[in-house]
């Protein structure tokens, strides 16, 4: 994992659920991550897929990813090029899914200082998110969890553990 990333902001509100991130009607019919990416945020922000650029950062309010356990709600964003998600808080299954897919997630209030299109920088080592309106701090992830992200996600992590 890079220790520092800079990206353009896509800003969203509170309680964004996994149905609007990746509609349920596709969950058992689409298995290719690239195809999943074509439906990212379809029912929340129909313009997202056409305009997202690699390394863009989602900045949101509380309880990002509530609802279903569907991991496609992480995969579709990662595959669409999203470099990180910064939210005031995350729903717990989404939080685990992001770690397991090695999509960097940051819990802090940067939503208070960033607007759509702003450039922000996440410094994972320092635990800071720098926005045009100030710097927000976040606590580091537990060592066990960080190791999974650094290994590239849960599958590479388990392979390493099992000596594969």
């Amino acid at each position: 994992m890079k220790t520092k990333i800079t990206g353009r902001v896509w800003k969203y509100g509170d309680d964004v659920n996994t149905d609007v991130i990746f509609p349920g009607k596709y969950t058992y019919s689409i298995s290719d991550p690239k195809e999943m990416a074509l439906h990212a945020l379809e029912d929340l922000d129909p313009g997202f897929v056409a305009a997202v650029r690699p390394g863009d950062i989602i900045v949101a309010g509380k309880n990002w990813g509530c609802g279903s356990s569907r991991e496609q709600a992480v995969v579709c964003l990662k595959e669409a090029g999203v470099g990180a998600i910064v939210a005031r808080s995350f729903a717990r299954i989404y939080f685990r899914n992001a770690i397991n897919q090695a999509l960097p997630i940051v819990t802090c209030d940067a939503v208070d200082g960033a607007e759509n299109g702003d450039e922000i920088t996440i410094d994972f080592a320092a635990g800071t998110v720098t926005t045009p309106c100030g710097t927000f701090t976040f606590p580091p992830l537990p060592a066990e969890v960080l190791e999974i992200i650094e290994d590239g996600g849960l599958i590479p992590h388990v392979r390493k553990q099992l000596g594969k």
Binding site: D15, V20, G24, S29, R70, N97, L162
Partner: protein, 417 residues
Amino acid sequence: MGKTFAEKVLAQKAGLKQTTAGQIVTVKPDRLLTHDNTSAIAATFRKIGVARVADPSMNVIVLDHVTPAADETYATSHQATRAFVAEQGISAFYDIGEGICHQVLPEKGHAWPGAVIVGSDSHTPTAGAFGAFAAGIGRTEAAAVMATGEIWLRVPESLRVQLREMLPSRVSAKDVSLYLIGLLRADGADYCSVEFAGEAISAMSVGERMTLTNMSAEMGAKNAVVEPDEKTFAWLAGRVSQPFTPVFADADAAYTRIIELDASTLAPQVACPHTVDNVAPVTEVAGKRVDQVVIGTCTNGRLEDLRVAAEILRGKHIAQGVRLLVLPASRENLQAALAEGVITDLIAAGATLLNPGCGPCLGAHQGCMAPGETTLSTSNRNFKGRMGSKDATIYLGSPATAAATALTGVITDPREV
């Protein structure tokens, strides 16, 4: 200081003397529940590079989400799941028609007091109605559990809901859940273990308790639990073959919050579009016209729910222009409702009967909505686009509210029919 249910059960499973909220432990779950997503999980499992699942007896697999297969893509996915089951020697496999995984899991003896269950579905906490610790996980994580037989869990903080007095007539567990979610909001129990207790809970049937634990996912809970009692043991008798020791929270356990409610003051509740925490008493939304009513799902598709609906609709007919879909949560519930005449009454009243399964709840088949349409459903989610068109709206309510609404064609207070 005493310990909560979650702290005690996870300590026991992790082989530790005690645990405290916030601690990370590694446990070997008793059961891993997966459904139609098993084919995708199996594909991820193969990437890990082990040939066999760690413990075939841990796996419980139920095809329920899009059953029978709606098209060739779903059929191919089901086929891959059946092949995986055969290849891995998994005996607890329940094919289409058996019911919804959260209902079939306990019916077939895979949930018991003190068990630790993880499942690749957000409504896995439902099994907490039997005194189990049950939490939802993602697909990749389920593949890792298959390969290693283990999972890391953070011991959750706990929240206790104390429900004293008795619920009034036509006010049910679903109304309690909706009221609580409106109070706590969608993240009010995020990462938390929710313990339900009190007179009104003791008075509930096991099925009604399952509604409470099921809906706890909608306030962000990691798991929810009802302390097992004689009703639980009677329900489990003949289903669970192994010995178990119930785990109870200590009286002086530490809770982040204790919520006390007087059940006798509650009214029927409705969740309005497009979030489950957008809750109002039914009296405030009464009169809203609906196109479709859904009675069923893992939240409210059990015999007691179908009975309530039949009691309201017996000898009457649903309003013109309304479609009523009824889908029992399992074959067992369908058979019981058939034997009692409940299904006959509902069909005579104009209901369309669907096979046990998830049906229209996730918007993949069997009752999706067109733009501009409105459904009142007994299911657990009303998110935008959940049941078909993103320009359709979903209200959530109890089986009694749903039946009353089907009767009149507008959202109706069940105490008035």
